[in-house]
């Protein structure tokens, strides 16, 4: 009986880890945007849902697997994110938080209701053949879709890490995040870098959306939930820290899965919010954040 329970637990943890990697990728987008330009993207979950809908449309109308449409969706998100930052968000950088909040709230309302107007309130999912496949790892069974999504999320995160450490633009963005004034002094085009960053953050969440649709179906009402989830993850991991966002994603993914196993499933979000409150009080910089900020 105990071995059964342990197996169930191990199964839940594995499932949580795999989903958590996609959560991590979503939160990474939020974290990158905040870390660089100190703007909290209150439209993050809404962007996630738009990514899910785009992948669903690609599958439904063009019969393209979400994993294949992902690069296209990420590219669209990058372009739109870049444009959005340039046109709307740029003037709000450095302004009081409540103004940024209202601006992104308006964007969020527009995005989620555009989804509602176009796709309707019904839940939309993709039916792929691989949804019935699974891999066996010893006694554990891994869903193929979850494993593929998690691997893709890790690959994208690695790509992002390479971008920020190896490319000139990536290094410049980190410089601008570190010291805005000094970046201006040495002649970096900070406005362009900010737009680029928002594009990168948007591409992350768009990609995460394309992966998420393979795991669960989408409705417009998921948006607010994902915004909150992304907040919880980045705060727990450390706002502005890339490792933190990924680790936070894993932690929340696992805690949700385990709470779903041990408690009533509806109590699982209480667990995440409890964790959020604890982290905010005891270690507001997050588990992986730098303490000086």
């Amino acid at each position: 009986m105990t071995t059964d329970f342990l197996l169930d637990l191990a199964q839940a943890v594995t499932k949580g880890l795999l989903t958590g990697m996609v959560y991590g990728l979503m939160a990474l987008g939020l974290s990158v945007i905040f870390g660089v330009m100190r703007v909290v993207n209150f439209a993050h979950g809404e962007m996630m849902v738009v990514g899910m809908y785009l992948a669903w449309m690609g599958f439904e109308y063009l019969e393209v697997s979400p994993l294949l449409s992902l690069p296209v969706i990420a590219a669209i998100f990058f372009a739109v994110g870049y444009g959005l930052q340039r046109s709307l968000i740029s003037p709000f950088i450095g302004r009081p938080e409540h103004q940024q909040f209202l601006l992104l709230l308006a964007v969020a309302i527009l995005l989620v209701n555009a989804c509602l107007a176009i796709a309707g309130p019904d839940s939309r999912g993709v039916q792929m053949d691989s949804q019935f496949d699974s891999y066996e790892l010893g006694p554990l069974v891994l869903d193929a879709v979850r494993l593929h999504a998690a691997l893709a999320a890790v690959a994208i995160a690695l790509l992002l890490w390479a971008f920020f450490t190896a490319t000139r633009t990536g290094k410049s963005i980190r410089a601008a995040a570190d010291n805005h004034l000094a970046a201006l002094v040495v002649g970096l085009d900070v406005r362009r870098l900010y737009a680029f960053t928002f594009g990168v953050g948007a591409a992350c969440v768009g990609a995460a959306g394309a992966l998420m649709i393979t795991i669960i179906p989408v409705t417009p009402f998921l948006a607010a939930e994902y915004t909150l989830l992304a907040f919880v993850i980045v705060i727990v991991g450390g706002l502005g820290s890339m490792t933190g966002a990924l680790m936070g994603g894993l932690l929340i993914g696992v805690s949700e899965a385990v709470a779903g196993l041990l408690l009533q499933p509806s109590l699982k979000s209480m667990f995440s919010f409890g964790l959020l409150i604890l982290v905010l009080l005891l270690r507001p910089q997050g588990l992986f954040g730098k303490s000086s900020s």
Binding site: L88, E97, F101, L102, L116, A117, F273, L276, L280, L281
Partner: protein, 332 residues
């Protein structure tokens, strides 16, 4: 007398006359207006009142709360629960409601301010507490759980138990809105109000010149939470139902913040002007939405309107309007 003198001191006679006329108009409004317009006016007054309450914490003391649904929800649930289970009327129940919300505000405030969480971090803490409570109420049988708590709909006027038609609720919310307006004016003119503004502008400098920063912030959140709880009690008895999914929803918290932000943060007239603008737009877009029959179209227009206002009037509508009317509200 000196209290009244201080309250109206410095206000141009034009404003006082206009306010007096407005009050008279509001007092006779139920006799002039039909059912629909009365319900719109009730909404406006509700958002003006609850906006005024939120404005004390954010507009005066500078602490961004995105979790005020917590206090409204607690207030509503406590008063409605006492009435539902024990027949205790809301006039007695509101003391319990205010006390519980005050305690909740104390906890959120103490934890947040003690650990000097500011800005976004404090805002996220308030969201977390509200969401945490939402899930807790989903599982609390006394409060009806996720199935909700319902009061018996009864439109025979019974002031003692706050049962009656829209006119009764109109006068109650009018009294609350007027009371909150006067309270806010008095607070702004008091030493405490000056302290708050100092904290809002620069907390470190305020601390350095001897302003008791933590205590002032605590008073702000407790007053704000208590007033918001009153709005919650009124709301529960007006709508006769409560669900955790809506009472503690982040959407409810956001709704509370909109009127003061759109109207003009930290100003006395901001929440009122914001409530008029937002409720007016909401009603207009509801009609448009019904005519177009596209799901979400109402919210799309609403989002566009918010976007236009925040891009072109980031400081709010009232400061701009006041300048147009030649009534520049003294920027304290």
């Amino acid at each position: 007398m000196s209290f009244i003198k201080r309250l109206v001191g410095g206000a141009p006679p034009r404003i006082l006359w206009s306010l007096g006329i407005l009050l008279v108009l509001l007092l006779v409004a139920p006799m002039m207006l039909g059912k629909y317009w009365l319900s719109v006016l009730i909404l406006i007054l509700y958002f003006a009142f609850v906006g005024q309450a939120w404005n004390i914490l954010m507009g005066f003391a500078g602490q961004l709360s995105l979790g005020h649904a917590l206090y409204a929800g607690l207030g509503g649930y406590i008063a409605a629960g006492l009435y539902f289970h024990y027949g205790i009327g809301p006039w007695a129940g509101l003391f319990a409601a205010v006390a519980v919300a005050g305690v909740a505000g104390t906890i959120v405030g103490y934890l947040g301010f003690r650990f000097s969480l500011a800005g976004v971090y404090f805002a996220l803490l308030t969201i977390a507490f509200s969401e945490f409570t939402r899930v807790a109420f989903d599982h609390w049988e006394w409060a009806g759980g996720s199935g909700g708590l319902f009061l018996k709909v009864d439109t025979t006027t019974d002031i003692v138990n706050l049962r009656g038609g829209p006119v009764l609720f109109y006068y109650v919310i009018l009294a609350l809105a007027v009371g909150a307006f006067i309270l806010c004016r008095a607070l702004l003119e008091s030493r405490l109000g000056r302290y708050w503004l100092a904290i809002r502008e620069d907390a470190e400098a305020a601390q350095a010149v001897g302003v008791p920063v933590l205590r002032c912030k605590m008073i702000a959140i407790v007053i704000s939470a208590a007033l918001t709880a009153l709005a919650g009690v009124w709301n529960a008895f007006y709508y006769n139902n409560l669900f955790p999914e809506t009472a503690f929803a982040m959407g409810r918290s956001i709704e509370i913040t909109l009127a003061p932000i759109i109207g003009g943060l930290g100003t006395l007239f901001g929440p009122i002007v914001g409530a008029v603008v937002l409720t007016g737009l909401g009603e207009l877009f509801t009609d448009v939405g019904e005519a177009l029959r596209i799901p979400g179209i109402k919210q799309i227009f609403y989002g566009l309107a918010l976007l236009v206002i925040v891009v072109y009037r980031p400081a709010g509508v009232w400061p701009w309007l006041a300048e147009r009317l030649g009534l520049k509200e003294r920027q304290p």
